[in-house]
Amino acid sequence: MSNIPIDLPKDAFSHMNAGSTESEIITRPSITFWADARRRLFKNKVAMIGLSIIIIITMLAIFVPIFSQYSYTKQDLTNTNAPPSIEHPFGTDSHGRDLWVRVWVGARVSLAVGIFGSVIPGIIGVVIGGISGYFGGKVDMIIMRFIDIVMCVPNMIYIILITIYIGTGPVALVIAFALTGWMGTARSVRGMILQLKEQEFVLASRTLGASSATLIFQHLIPNTLGIVVVSMTMGVPAAIFQEAFLSFIGLGIAPPIPSWGQLANMGISVFRVYPSQLLIPAVLISVTMLSFNLFGDGLRDALDPKLRM
Protein backbone atom coordinates (compact mmCIF):
# COMPACT_ATOMS: atom_id res chain seq x y z
CA MET A 1 0.00 0.00 0.00
CA SER A 2 2.92 2.22 0.52
CA ASN A 3 3.45 2.89 -3.14
CA ILE A 4 0.01 4.35 -3.62
CA PRO A 5 0.19 8.11 -3.59
CA ILE A 6 -1.38 9.42 -0.41
CA ASP A 7 -2.16 12.88 -1.57
CA LEU A 8 -5.02 12.25 -3.84
CA PRO A 9 -7.65 14.91 -4.17
CA LYS A 10 -10.96 14.03 -2.62
CA ASP A 11 -12.90 14.06 -5.84
CA ALA A 12 -10.50 11.60 -7.40
CA PHE A 13 -12.74 8.87 -6.16
CA SER A 14 -16.00 10.34 -7.29
CA HIS A 15 -18.03 7.95 -9.34
CA MET A 16 -18.12 8.28 -13.08
CA ASN A 17 -20.62 6.62 -15.35
CA ALA A 18 -19.11 3.97 -17.50
CA GLY A 19 -19.11 4.90 -21.13
CA SER A 20 -19.31 8.60 -20.49
CA THR A 21 -15.68 9.27 -21.12
CA GLU A 22 -13.77 10.05 -24.20
CA SER A 23 -11.70 6.96 -23.96
CA GLU A 24 -14.76 5.03 -24.93
CA ILE A 25 -14.10 6.17 -28.46
CA ILE A 26 -11.87 3.63 -30.02
CA THR A 27 -8.70 5.48 -30.80
CA ARG A 28 -7.44 3.22 -33.56
CA PRO A 29 -9.13 4.18 -36.78
CA SER A 30 -11.31 1.37 -37.93
CA ILE A 31 -9.14 -0.04 -40.69
CA THR A 32 -11.02 -1.88 -43.37
CA PHE A 33 -9.35 -4.56 -45.39
CA TRP A 34 -8.86 -2.34 -48.43
CA ALA A 35 -7.65 0.64 -46.45
CA ASP A 36 -5.21 -1.57 -44.66
CA ALA A 37 -4.02 -3.02 -47.93
CA ARG A 38 -3.59 0.43 -49.37
CA ARG A 39 -1.57 1.50 -46.37
CA ARG A 40 0.74 -1.49 -46.66
CA LEU A 41 1.11 -0.93 -50.36
CA PHE A 42 2.04 2.71 -49.94
CA LYS A 43 4.62 1.74 -47.38
CA ASN A 44 6.23 -0.70 -49.82
CA LYS A 45 8.92 1.35 -51.53
CA VAL A 46 9.68 -1.16 -54.26
CA ALA A 47 6.05 -1.42 -55.23
CA MET A 48 5.73 2.33 -55.23
CA ILE A 49 8.73 2.69 -57.52
CA GLY A 50 7.04 0.19 -59.83
CA LEU A 51 3.81 2.14 -59.73
CA SER A 52 5.56 5.43 -60.41
CA ILE A 53 7.30 4.01 -63.45
CA ILE A 54 4.02 2.66 -64.74
CA ILE A 55 2.43 6.07 -64.29
CA ILE A 56 5.34 7.86 -65.99
CA ILE A 57 5.27 5.49 -68.94
CA THR A 58 1.51 5.83 -69.22
CA MET A 59 1.78 9.62 -69.20
CA LEU A 60 4.46 9.59 -71.87
CA ALA A 61 2.37 7.18 -73.94
CA ILE A 62 -0.59 9.50 -73.71
CA PHE A 63 1.11 12.82 -74.28
CA VAL A 64 4.17 12.29 -76.47
CA PRO A 65 2.22 11.36 -79.62
CA ILE A 66 -0.12 14.30 -79.07
CA PHE A 67 2.62 16.88 -78.85
CA SER A 68 5.20 15.49 -81.24
CA GLN A 69 5.70 17.15 -84.59
CA TYR A 70 5.99 13.75 -86.29
CA SER A 71 3.27 11.24 -86.88
CA TYR A 72 3.99 7.58 -86.29
CA THR A 73 3.22 6.76 -89.92
CA LYS A 74 5.16 9.56 -91.59
CA GLN A 75 7.95 7.97 -93.59
CA ASP A 76 11.08 9.46 -94.94
CA LEU A 77 12.79 6.89 -97.08
CA THR A 78 15.77 9.18 -97.49
CA ASN A 79 16.52 9.20 -93.79
CA THR A 80 16.25 5.60 -92.70
CA ASN A 81 17.86 3.97 -89.68
CA ALA A 82 19.19 7.29 -88.44
CA PRO A 83 20.92 7.22 -85.08
CA PRO A 84 19.41 9.13 -82.14
CA SER A 85 19.72 12.88 -82.58
CA ILE A 86 18.10 16.04 -81.31
CA GLU A 87 15.55 15.92 -84.05
CA HIS A 88 14.82 12.22 -83.51
CA PRO A 89 15.68 11.38 -79.89
CA PHE A 90 15.42 7.66 -80.57
CA GLY A 91 16.51 7.82 -84.20
CA THR A 92 14.45 6.58 -87.13
CA ASP A 93 13.51 3.11 -88.27
CA SER A 94 13.98 1.23 -91.52
CA HIS A 95 11.25 3.34 -93.14
CA GLY A 96 12.62 6.61 -91.81
CA ARG A 97 9.85 7.00 -89.26
CA ASP A 98 10.53 8.82 -86.01
CA LEU A 99 11.12 6.18 -83.35
CA TRP A 100 10.43 8.50 -80.43
CA VAL A 101 6.81 8.81 -81.53
CA ARG A 102 6.56 5.19 -82.59
CA VAL A 103 7.87 3.99 -79.25
CA TRP A 104 5.21 5.93 -77.36
CA VAL A 105 2.44 5.01 -79.73
CA GLY A 106 3.71 1.47 -79.27
CA ALA A 107 3.47 2.01 -75.54
CA ARG A 108 -0.19 2.85 -75.93
CA VAL A 109 -0.80 -0.32 -77.88
CA SER A 110 1.27 -2.55 -75.64
CA LEU A 111 -0.18 -1.16 -72.44
CA ALA A 112 -3.71 -1.39 -73.77
CA VAL A 113 -3.16 -4.94 -74.97
CA GLY A 114 -1.48 -5.76 -71.68
CA ILE A 115 -4.16 -4.30 -69.46
CA PHE A 116 -7.20 -5.44 -71.39
CA GLY A 117 -5.54 -8.71 -72.29
CA SER A 118 -5.19 -9.40 -68.61
CA VAL A 119 -8.28 -7.86 -67.09
CA ILE A 120 -10.82 -9.27 -69.54
CA PRO A 121 -9.72 -12.89 -69.25
CA GLY A 122 -9.44 -12.29 -65.51
CA ILE A 123 -13.07 -11.24 -65.34
CA ILE A 124 -14.18 -14.14 -67.50
CA GLY A 125 -12.19 -16.47 -65.29
CA VAL A 126 -13.74 -15.09 -62.12
CA VAL A 127 -17.27 -15.45 -63.45
CA ILE A 128 -16.79 -18.96 -64.81
CA GLY A 129 -14.75 -20.10 -61.83
CA GLY A 130 -17.32 -18.57 -59.48
CA ILE A 131 -20.18 -20.35 -61.21
CA SER A 132 -18.30 -23.61 -61.31
CA GLY A 133 -17.24 -23.51 -57.69
CA TYR A 134 -20.56 -22.27 -56.40
CA PHE A 135 -22.88 -24.64 -58.16
CA GLY A 136 -20.57 -27.61 -57.99
CA GLY A 137 -21.88 -30.97 -59.14
CA LYS A 138 -22.53 -31.44 -62.85
CA VAL A 139 -21.94 -27.81 -63.82
CA ASP A 140 -18.60 -27.88 -62.09
CA MET A 141 -17.71 -31.21 -63.63
CA ILE A 142 -18.50 -30.06 -67.16
CA ILE A 143 -16.66 -26.77 -66.79
CA MET A 144 -13.62 -28.40 -65.25
CA ARG A 145 -13.48 -31.12 -67.88
CA PHE A 146 -13.75 -28.48 -70.56
CA ILE A 147 -10.89 -26.56 -69.03
CA ASP A 148 -8.85 -29.75 -68.80
CA ILE A 149 -9.29 -30.35 -72.50
CA VAL A 150 -8.66 -26.80 -73.58
CA MET A 151 -5.56 -26.63 -71.43
CA CYS A 152 -4.20 -29.62 -73.29
CA VAL A 153 -3.99 -27.57 -76.47
CA PRO A 154 -0.56 -25.99 -76.67
CA ASN A 155 -1.18 -22.34 -75.91
CA MET A 156 0.75 -21.19 -78.93
CA ILE A 157 -1.32 -23.22 -81.35
CA TYR A 158 -4.47 -21.93 -79.74
CA ILE A 159 -3.52 -18.27 -79.98
CA ILE A 160 -2.24 -18.56 -83.52
CA LEU A 161 -5.44 -20.30 -84.48
CA ILE A 162 -7.52 -17.49 -83.06
CA THR A 163 -5.44 -14.77 -84.67
CA ILE A 164 -5.80 -16.52 -87.99
CA TYR A 165 -9.55 -16.52 -87.50
CA ILE A 166 -10.05 -12.99 -86.31
CA GLY A 167 -7.03 -11.08 -87.56
CA THR A 168 -4.23 -9.30 -85.84
CA GLY A 169 -5.48 -5.92 -84.65
CA PRO A 170 -5.11 -4.90 -81.01
CA VAL A 171 -8.75 -5.76 -80.40
CA ALA A 172 -8.34 -9.15 -82.02
CA LEU A 173 -5.34 -9.82 -79.83
CA VAL A 174 -7.25 -8.95 -76.72
CA ILE A 175 -10.02 -11.29 -77.81
CA ALA A 176 -7.46 -14.02 -78.40
CA PHE A 177 -6.01 -13.49 -74.96
CA ALA A 178 -9.48 -13.40 -73.45
CA LEU A 179 -10.34 -16.71 -75.04
CA THR A 180 -7.12 -18.39 -73.99
CA GLY A 181 -6.27 -16.76 -70.69
CA TRP A 182 -9.28 -17.30 -68.48
CA MET A 183 -8.72 -20.94 -67.54
CA GLY A 184 -6.05 -20.46 -64.91
CA THR A 185 -8.02 -17.78 -63.09
CA ALA A 186 -11.21 -19.82 -63.36
CA ARG A 187 -9.49 -22.77 -61.74
CA SER A 188 -8.06 -20.88 -58.82
CA VAL A 189 -11.25 -18.90 -58.22
CA ARG A 190 -13.19 -22.12 -58.24
CA GLY A 191 -10.84 -23.58 -55.65
CA MET A 192 -11.23 -20.57 -53.41
CA ILE A 193 -14.99 -20.53 -53.79
CA LEU A 194 -15.17 -24.20 -52.86
CA GLN A 195 -13.38 -23.38 -49.64
CA LEU A 196 -15.31 -20.23 -48.88
CA LYS A 197 -18.62 -21.87 -49.57
CA GLU A 198 -18.23 -24.02 -46.50
CA GLN A 199 -17.54 -21.11 -44.22
CA GLU A 200 -19.99 -19.84 -41.67
CA PHE A 201 -20.71 -16.45 -43.09
CA VAL A 202 -21.88 -17.96 -46.33
CA LEU A 203 -24.03 -20.49 -44.52
CA ALA A 204 -25.43 -17.67 -42.44
CA SER A 205 -26.24 -15.62 -45.48
CA ARG A 206 -27.79 -18.61 -47.16
CA THR A 207 -30.02 -19.39 -44.20
CA LEU A 208 -31.15 -15.78 -44.33
CA GLY A 209 -32.44 -16.52 -47.80
CA ALA A 210 -29.86 -14.80 -49.97
CA SER A 211 -30.12 -15.69 -53.64
CA SER A 212 -27.35 -17.44 -55.53
CA ALA A 213 -26.42 -14.28 -57.35
CA THR A 214 -26.21 -12.33 -54.12
CA LEU A 215 -24.07 -15.01 -52.59
CA ILE A 216 -21.71 -15.24 -55.54
CA PHE A 217 -21.37 -11.56 -56.20
CA GLN A 218 -21.63 -10.14 -52.70
CA HIS A 219 -19.95 -12.73 -50.58
CA LEU A 220 -17.88 -15.16 -52.52
CA ILE A 221 -16.28 -13.13 -55.28
CA PRO A 222 -15.30 -10.15 -53.11
CA ASN A 223 -13.45 -12.56 -50.88
CA THR A 224 -11.43 -13.86 -53.80
CA LEU A 225 -10.83 -10.41 -55.20
CA GLY A 226 -7.48 -9.85 -53.55
CA ILE A 227 -5.88 -12.78 -55.25
CA VAL A 228 -7.61 -12.05 -58.53
CA VAL A 229 -6.41 -8.46 -58.51
CA VAL A 230 -2.89 -9.66 -57.92
CA SER A 231 -3.07 -12.21 -60.71
CA MET A 232 -4.48 -9.61 -63.08
CA THR A 233 -1.62 -7.26 -62.28
CA MET A 234 0.83 -10.04 -62.95
CA GLY A 235 -1.13 -10.83 -66.09
CA VAL A 236 -0.40 -7.43 -67.62
CA PRO A 237 3.29 -8.12 -68.24
CA ALA A 238 2.40 -11.62 -69.33
CA ALA A 239 0.09 -10.24 -72.00
CA ILE A 240 2.67 -7.67 -73.14
CA PHE A 241 5.11 -10.56 -73.36
CA GLN A 242 2.67 -12.66 -75.30
CA GLU A 243 2.15 -9.84 -77.78
CA ALA A 244 5.90 -9.46 -78.14
CA PHE A 245 6.23 -13.15 -78.77
CA LEU A 246 3.52 -13.07 -81.42
CA SER A 247 5.36 -10.20 -83.06
CA PHE A 248 8.50 -12.27 -82.98
CA ILE A 249 6.85 -15.05 -84.92
CA GLY A 250 5.28 -12.48 -87.19
CA LEU A 251 1.71 -12.52 -85.98
CA GLY A 252 1.67 -9.33 -83.99
CA ILE A 253 -0.38 -6.24 -84.60
CA ALA A 254 -0.93 -5.13 -88.17
CA PRO A 255 1.20 -2.25 -89.45
CA PRO A 256 1.53 0.65 -89.45
CA ILE A 257 0.42 0.57 -85.82
CA PRO A 258 3.53 -0.13 -83.78
CA SER A 259 3.75 -2.08 -80.58
CA TRP A 260 6.73 -2.63 -78.36
CA GLY A 261 6.86 -6.25 -79.34
CA GLN A 262 6.97 -5.27 -82.98
CA LEU A 263 9.56 -2.58 -82.45
CA ALA A 264 11.70 -5.04 -80.52
CA ASN A 265 11.25 -7.61 -83.25
CA MET A 266 12.24 -5.08 -85.89
CA GLY A 267 15.11 -4.09 -83.65
CA ILE A 268 16.33 -7.61 -83.23
CA SER A 269 16.73 -8.07 -86.94
CA VAL A 270 18.97 -5.01 -87.14
CA PHE A 271 20.51 -5.35 -83.73
CA ARG A 272 24.02 -6.04 -84.94
CA VAL A 273 23.94 -2.95 -87.08
CA TYR A 274 21.73 -0.49 -85.25
CA PRO A 275 21.66 -1.65 -81.63
CA SER A 276 19.66 1.32 -80.39
CA GLN A 277 16.64 0.11 -82.34
CA LEU A 278 16.55 -3.01 -80.20
CA LEU A 279 17.80 -1.56 -76.96
CA ILE A 280 15.12 1.09 -76.66
CA PRO A 281 12.06 -1.14 -76.95
CA ALA A 282 13.81 -3.95 -75.08
CA VAL A 283 14.62 -1.72 -72.14
CA LEU A 284 11.12 -0.29 -72.15
CA ILE A 285 9.50 -3.70 -72.26
CA SER A 286 11.73 -4.95 -69.50
CA VAL A 287 11.29 -1.90 -67.30
CA THR A 288 7.53 -2.00 -67.73
CA MET A 289 7.38 -5.70 -66.97
CA LEU A 290 9.64 -5.17 -64.01
CA SER A 291 7.40 -2.38 -62.74
CA PHE A 292 4.23 -4.40 -63.13
CA ASN A 293 5.81 -7.42 -61.50
CA LEU A 294 7.20 -5.43 -58.59
CA PHE A 295 3.91 -3.65 -58.16
CA GLY A 296 2.09 -6.96 -58.36
CA ASP A 297 4.39 -8.48 -55.77
CA GLY A 298 3.76 -5.54 -53.49
CA LEU A 299 0.05 -5.81 -54.09
CA ARG A 300 0.12 -9.47 -53.20
CA ASP A 301 1.99 -8.78 -50.02
CA ALA A 302 -0.42 -5.99 -49.20
CA LEU A 303 -3.51 -8.04 -49.87
CA ASP A 304 -2.40 -11.14 -48.00
CA PRO A 305 -4.63 -11.07 -44.94
CA LYS A 306 -2.32 -13.34 -43.03
CA LEU A 307 0.29 -10.65 -42.89
CA ARG A 308 -2.12 -8.14 -41.47
CA MET A 309 -1.43 -6.90 -37.98
Binding site: L161, N265, F271, L290
Partner: protein
Protein backbone atom coordinates in the same frame (compact mmCIF):
# COMPACT_ATOMS: atom_id res chain seq x y z
CA UNK B 1 -4.97 -47.98 -56.44
CA UNK B 2 -5.48 -50.10 -59.53
CA UNK B 3 -9.02 -48.90 -59.70
CA UNK B 4 -7.88 -45.32 -59.37
CA UNK B 5 -5.32 -45.66 -62.14
CA UNK B 6 -7.88 -47.34 -64.33
CA UNK B 7 -10.33 -44.54 -63.76
CA UNK B 8 -7.70 -41.94 -64.50
CA UNK B 9 -6.77 -43.77 -67.66
CA UNK B 10 -10.34 -43.77 -68.92
CA UNK B 11 -10.71 -40.06 -68.18
CA UNK B 12 -7.40 -39.38 -69.91
CA UNK B 13 -8.41 -41.27 -73.02
CA UNK B 14 -11.70 -39.41 -73.21
CA UNK B 15 -9.90 -36.11 -72.72
CA UNK B 16 -7.47 -36.86 -75.51
CA UNK B 17 -10.20 -38.07 -77.80
CA UNK B 18 -12.17 -34.86 -77.24
CA UNK B 19 -9.01 -32.86 -77.72
CA UNK B 20 -8.30 -34.58 -81.01
CA UNK B 21 -11.85 -34.15 -82.22
CA UNK B 22 -12.09 -30.48 -81.34
CA UNK B 23 -8.69 -29.67 -82.82
CA UNK B 24 -9.48 -31.62 -85.96
CA UNK B 25 -12.58 -29.65 -86.77
CA UNK B 26 -11.13 -26.34 -85.62
CA UNK B 27 -8.13 -26.79 -87.87
CA UNK B 28 -10.12 -27.81 -90.88
CA UNK B 29 -12.33 -24.79 -90.67
CA UNK B 30 -9.33 -22.51 -90.94
CA UNK B 31 -9.19 -20.70 -94.24
CA UNK B 32 -6.28 -21.37 -96.54
CA UNK B 33 -4.62 -24.22 -98.31
CA UNK B 34 -1.76 -26.22 -96.85
CA UNK B 35 0.00 -26.73 -100.16
CA UNK B 36 0.41 -23.08 -100.92
CA UNK B 37 3.82 -21.68 -100.30
CA UNK B 38 5.12 -18.36 -101.47
CA UNK B 39 5.62 -20.03 -104.80
CA UNK B 40 2.11 -20.02 -106.08
CA UNK B 41 0.64 -23.28 -107.25
CA UNK B 42 -1.93 -23.16 -109.96
CA UNK B 43 -5.49 -23.91 -109.05
CA UNK B 44 -5.26 -27.18 -110.94
CA UNK B 45 -2.25 -28.44 -109.03
CA UNK B 46 -3.73 -27.32 -105.80
CA UNK B 47 -6.92 -29.25 -106.39
CA UNK B 48 -4.88 -32.24 -107.40
CA UNK B 49 -3.01 -32.12 -104.11
CA UNK B 50 -6.18 -31.78 -102.08
CA UNK B 51 -7.51 -34.86 -103.82
CA UNK B 52 -4.26 -36.72 -103.40
CA UNK B 53 -4.28 -36.25 -99.63
CA UNK B 54 -8.00 -36.90 -99.42
CA UNK B 55 -8.66 -33.39 -98.21
CA UNK B 56 -11.48 -32.97 -100.71
CA UNK B 57 -13.55 -35.70 -99.08
CA UNK B 58 -16.37 -34.92 -96.66
CA UNK B 59 -14.95 -33.71 -93.38
CA UNK B 60 -16.64 -36.41 -91.35
CA UNK B 61 -15.14 -39.12 -93.54
CA UNK B 62 -11.69 -37.57 -93.13
CA UNK B 63 -12.27 -37.47 -89.41
CA UNK B 64 -13.00 -41.17 -89.17
CA UNK B 65 -10.03 -42.04 -91.35
CA UNK B 66 -7.81 -39.93 -89.16
CA UNK B 67 -9.16 -41.45 -85.96
CA UNK B 68 -8.77 -44.95 -87.32
CA UNK B 69 -5.12 -44.27 -88.09
CA UNK B 70 -4.62 -42.54 -84.80
CA UNK B 71 -5.85 -45.62 -82.95
CA UNK B 72 -3.06 -47.53 -84.61
CA UNK B 73 -0.63 -44.87 -83.45
CA UNK B 74 -0.22 -43.55 -86.97
CA UNK B 75 -0.44 -39.78 -87.19
CA UNK B 76 0.11 -39.64 -90.92
CA UNK B 77 2.57 -37.89 -93.20
CA UNK B 78 3.47 -34.27 -92.76
CA UNK B 79 2.08 -32.12 -95.54
CA UNK B 80 5.23 -30.00 -95.62
CA UNK B 81 7.99 -32.53 -95.08
CA UNK B 82 6.32 -34.57 -97.72
CA UNK B 83 7.82 -37.94 -97.08
CA UNK B 84 8.31 -37.91 -93.38
CA UNK B 85 5.71 -39.11 -90.96
CA UNK B 86 4.60 -36.98 -88.08
CA UNK B 87 5.67 -39.82 -85.81
CA UNK B 88 9.19 -39.79 -87.19
CA UNK B 89 9.51 -36.02 -86.97
CA UNK B 90 8.42 -36.06 -83.34
CA UNK B 91 10.67 -39.03 -82.63
CA UNK B 92 13.71 -37.25 -84.02
CA UNK B 93 13.13 -33.76 -82.62
CA UNK B 94 11.50 -34.40 -79.26
CA UNK B 95 14.59 -35.95 -77.63
CA UNK B 96 16.56 -32.81 -78.43
CA UNK B 97 13.97 -30.47 -76.99
CA UNK B 98 13.53 -32.74 -74.01
CA UNK B 99 17.25 -32.80 -73.35
CA UNK B 100 17.44 -29.03 -73.48
CA UNK B 101 14.38 -28.80 -71.25
CA UNK B 102 15.73 -31.26 -68.72
CA UNK B 103 19.08 -29.52 -68.57
CA UNK B 104 17.36 -26.21 -67.94
CA UNK B 105 15.09 -27.69 -65.31
CA UNK B 106 18.06 -29.30 -63.62
CA UNK B 107 19.55 -25.84 -63.24
CA UNK B 108 16.40 -23.87 -62.66
CA UNK B 109 14.71 -26.11 -60.12
CA UNK B 110 17.36 -26.19 -57.40
CA UNK B 111 18.45 -22.60 -57.87
CA UNK B 112 14.94 -21.26 -58.27
CA UNK B 113 13.68 -23.06 -55.21
CA UNK B 114 16.73 -22.12 -53.17
CA UNK B 115 16.37 -18.46 -54.11
CA UNK B 116 12.68 -18.64 -53.25
CA UNK B 117 13.45 -20.11 -49.82
CA UNK B 118 16.26 -17.66 -49.16
CA UNK B 119 14.11 -14.74 -50.20
CA UNK B 120 11.18 -15.77 -48.05
CA UNK B 121 13.37 -16.43 -45.05
CA UNK B 122 14.94 -13.00 -45.26
CA UNK B 123 11.72 -11.27 -46.09
CA UNK B 124 12.06 -7.52 -46.34
CA UNK B 125 15.83 -7.67 -46.12
CA UNK B 126 18.41 -6.96 -48.78
CA UNK B 127 18.69 -10.62 -49.75
CA UNK B 128 14.97 -10.73 -50.35
CA UNK B 129 15.05 -7.67 -52.56
CA UNK B 130 17.98 -8.98 -54.55
CA UNK B 131 16.34 -12.37 -55.07
CA UNK B 132 13.05 -10.78 -56.00
CA UNK B 133 14.66 -8.37 -58.42
CA UNK B 134 16.78 -11.07 -60.01
CA UNK B 135 13.68 -13.21 -60.31
CA UNK B 136 11.61 -10.42 -61.71
CA UNK B 137 14.28 -9.47 -64.21
CA UNK B 138 14.29 -13.09 -65.29
CA UNK B 139 10.62 -12.89 -66.18
CA UNK B 140 10.79 -9.31 -67.42
CA UNK B 141 13.03 -9.77 -70.41
CA UNK B 142 11.39 -11.45 -73.38
CA UNK B 143 13.25 -14.63 -74.18
CA UNK B 144 14.05 -13.57 -77.72
CA UNK B 145 15.88 -10.56 -76.39
CA UNK B 146 17.53 -12.48 -73.57
CA UNK B 147 18.63 -15.25 -75.92
CA UNK B 148 20.05 -12.82 -78.46
CA UNK B 149 21.90 -10.87 -75.79
CA UNK B 150 23.41 -13.94 -74.20
CA UNK B 151 24.52 -15.15 -77.59
CA UNK B 152 25.94 -11.80 -78.53
CA UNK B 153 27.86 -11.37 -75.31
CA UNK B 154 29.19 -14.84 -74.64
CA UNK B 155 29.59 -16.23 -78.11
CA UNK B 156 30.23 -13.31 -80.39
CA UNK B 157 31.92 -10.73 -78.18
CA UNK B 158 33.65 -12.83 -75.55
CA UNK B 159 34.00 -15.88 -77.81
CA UNK B 160 33.89 -18.29 -74.89
CA UNK B 161 30.95 -20.38 -76.07
CA UNK B 162 29.70 -21.59 -79.45
CA UNK B 163 27.10 -19.44 -81.20
CA UNK B 164 24.64 -22.14 -82.08
CA UNK B 165 24.00 -25.75 -83.00
CA UNK B 166 23.43 -28.70 -80.72
CA UNK B 167 26.57 -30.78 -80.62
CA UNK B 168 29.05 -30.75 -77.76
CA UNK B 169 28.14 -29.96 -74.15
CA UNK B 170 29.59 -26.48 -74.65
CA UNK B 171 26.96 -25.90 -77.30
CA UNK B 172 24.23 -26.57 -74.79
CA UNK B 173 25.34 -23.98 -72.27
CA UNK B 174 23.83 -20.81 -73.72
CA UNK B 175 20.43 -22.17 -74.70
CA UNK B 176 20.20 -24.00 -71.40
CA UNK B 177 20.98 -20.84 -69.47
CA UNK B 178 18.66 -18.70 -71.56
CA UNK B 179 15.80 -21.09 -70.94
CA UNK B 180 16.72 -21.74 -67.32
CA UNK B 181 16.73 -18.04 -66.44
CA UNK B 182 13.05 -17.54 -67.01
CA UNK B 183 12.15 -20.88 -65.45
CA UNK B 184 14.26 -20.07 -62.46
CA UNK B 185 12.60 -16.71 -62.09
CA UNK B 186 9.15 -18.22 -62.15
CA UNK B 187 10.08 -20.90 -59.66
CA UNK B 188 11.67 -18.38 -57.32
CA UNK B 189 8.53 -16.33 -57.25
CA UNK B 190 6.21 -19.24 -56.66
CA UNK B 191 8.46 -20.74 -54.03
CA UNK B 192 8.83 -17.43 -52.24
CA UNK B 193 5.10 -16.88 -52.07
CA UNK B 194 4.55 -20.42 -50.96
CA UNK B 195 7.23 -20.23 -48.29
CA UNK B 196 5.80 -16.99 -46.94
CA UNK B 197 2.52 -18.78 -46.57
CA UNK B 198 4.09 -21.76 -44.84
CA UNK B 199 6.18 -19.67 -42.47
CA UNK B 200 2.95 -18.36 -40.99
CA UNK B 201 1.58 -21.80 -40.28
CA UNK B 202 1.00 -23.01 -36.73
CA UNK B 203 2.98 -26.20 -37.17
CA UNK B 204 6.08 -24.14 -37.81
CA UNK B 205 5.56 -22.60 -34.40
CA UNK B 206 5.05 -26.08 -32.97
CA UNK B 207 8.32 -27.19 -34.46
CA UNK B 208 10.01 -24.14 -33.04
CA UNK B 209 8.48 -24.82 -29.64
CA UNK B 210 9.98 -28.30 -29.81
CA UNK B 211 13.37 -26.65 -29.81
CA UNK B 212 14.29 -27.62 -33.35
CA UNK B 213 16.98 -25.57 -35.01
CA UNK B 214 16.12 -23.06 -37.71
CA UNK B 215 17.74 -25.14 -40.38
CA UNK B 216 15.87 -28.23 -39.38
CA UNK B 217 12.56 -26.38 -39.30
CA UNK B 218 13.13 -24.94 -42.75
CA UNK B 219 14.28 -28.20 -44.19
CA UNK B 220 11.87 -30.72 -42.79
CA UNK B 221 8.82 -28.65 -41.97
CA UNK B 222 8.66 -25.67 -44.29
CA UNK B 223 10.12 -26.70 -47.62
CA UNK B 224 8.19 -29.89 -47.95
CA UNK B 225 4.91 -28.11 -47.38
CA UNK B 226 5.90 -25.16 -49.53
CA UNK B 227 6.61 -27.50 -52.41
CA UNK B 228 2.97 -28.46 -52.79
CA UNK B 229 1.91 -25.41 -54.83
CA UNK B 230 5.12 -25.68 -56.82
CA UNK B 231 4.23 -29.23 -57.73
CA UNK B 232 0.89 -28.14 -59.10
CA UNK B 233 2.51 -25.90 -61.67
CA UNK B 234 5.24 -28.37 -62.43
CA UNK B 235 3.03 -30.53 -64.66
CA UNK B 236 2.28 -27.87 -67.25
CA UNK B 237 5.70 -26.30 -66.81
CA UNK B 238 7.64 -29.48 -67.44
CA UNK B 239 5.42 -30.30 -70.38
CA UNK B 240 5.88 -26.99 -72.09
CA UNK B 241 9.60 -26.94 -71.40
CA UNK B 242 10.22 -30.45 -72.69
CA UNK B 243 8.14 -29.73 -75.77
CA UNK B 244 10.67 -27.14 -76.78
CA UNK B 245 10.66 -23.40 -77.00
CA UNK B 246 10.36 -21.82 -80.38
CA UNK B 247 12.41 -18.75 -79.59
CA UNK B 248 15.40 -20.43 -77.99
CA UNK B 249 15.48 -23.13 -80.63
CA UNK B 250 15.38 -20.57 -83.38
CA UNK B 251 18.08 -18.33 -81.99
CA UNK B 252 20.45 -21.16 -81.14
CA UNK B 253 19.61 -23.24 -84.20
CA UNK B 254 18.52 -26.28 -82.23
CA UNK B 255 16.60 -28.81 -84.28
CA UNK B 256 13.96 -29.36 -81.64
CA UNK B 257 10.24 -29.77 -81.55
CA UNK B 258 9.44 -26.19 -80.57
CA UNK B 259 9.81 -24.72 -84.05
CA UNK B 260 7.22 -27.15 -85.39
CA UNK B 261 4.54 -25.87 -83.03
CA UNK B 262 4.66 -22.49 -84.74
CA UNK B 263 5.64 -23.51 -88.25
CA UNK B 264 3.08 -26.26 -88.59
CA UNK B 265 0.15 -24.07 -87.68
CA UNK B 266 1.24 -21.04 -89.67
CA UNK B 267 2.04 -23.35 -92.57
CA UNK B 268 -1.32 -25.05 -92.07
CA UNK B 269 0.27 -28.48 -91.94
CA UNK B 270 -2.86 -30.24 -90.68
CA UNK B 271 -1.33 -33.59 -89.85
CA UNK B 272 1.67 -32.09 -88.13
CA UNK B 273 -0.42 -29.68 -86.06
CA UNK B 274 -2.81 -32.45 -85.09
CA UNK B 275 0.05 -34.74 -84.20
CA UNK B 276 1.72 -32.10 -82.07
CA UNK B 277 -1.50 -31.20 -80.30
CA UNK B 278 -2.21 -34.81 -79.48
CA UNK B 279 1.36 -35.48 -78.43
CA UNK B 280 1.38 -32.41 -76.24
CA UNK B 281 -2.02 -33.19 -74.76
CA UNK B 282 -1.11 -36.78 -74.03
CA UNK B 283 2.14 -35.74 -72.48
CA UNK B 284 0.42 -33.14 -70.34
CA UNK B 285 -2.22 -35.57 -69.16
CA UNK B 286 0.51 -38.02 -68.30
CA UNK B 287 2.61 -35.36 -66.57
CA UNK B 288 -0.37 -34.25 -64.53
CA UNK B 289 -0.97 -37.84 -63.57
CA UNK B 290 2.60 -38.13 -62.37
CA UNK B 291 2.26 -34.85 -60.52
CA UNK B 292 -0.83 -36.18 -58.78
CA UNK B 293 1.10 -39.24 -57.69
CA UNK B 294 3.97 -37.04 -56.51
CA UNK B 295 1.38 -34.95 -54.73
CA UNK B 296 0.29 -38.00 -52.85
CA UNK B 297 3.84 -38.61 -51.76
CA UNK B 298 4.43 -35.08 -50.59
CA UNK B 299 1.00 -34.45 -49.16
CA UNK B 300 -0.44 -37.50 -47.40
CA UNK B 301 -3.82 -35.84 -47.05
CA UNK B 302 -4.55 -36.61 -50.66
CA UNK B 303 -2.81 -39.92 -50.85
CA UNK B 304 -4.50 -42.26 -53.20
CA UNK B 305 -5.78 -45.13 -51.15
CA UNK B 306 -9.02 -46.04 -52.80
Amino acid sequence: MVKYIFKRLIISIITIWLLATISFFLLRTLPGNPFQTEKLLSVEVQERMMAYYGLDRPLIEQYFTYMKNLLRGNMGYSLKYTNRTVNSIIASTFPISAELGLRSLAIALPIGLALGVASARKRGKAVDYICVIVAVIGVSIPSFIMGSFLQYIFAIKLKILPVSQWQTPAHTVLPTVALALSLMATLTRVMRASMLEVVMQDYVKTAKAKGLSEGRIVWSHQIRNALIPVLTMLGPMVTSVLMGTFVIEKIFAIPGLGQHFVNSITGLDYTMTMGLTIFYGTFLVFANFLVDIAYGIVDPRIRITK
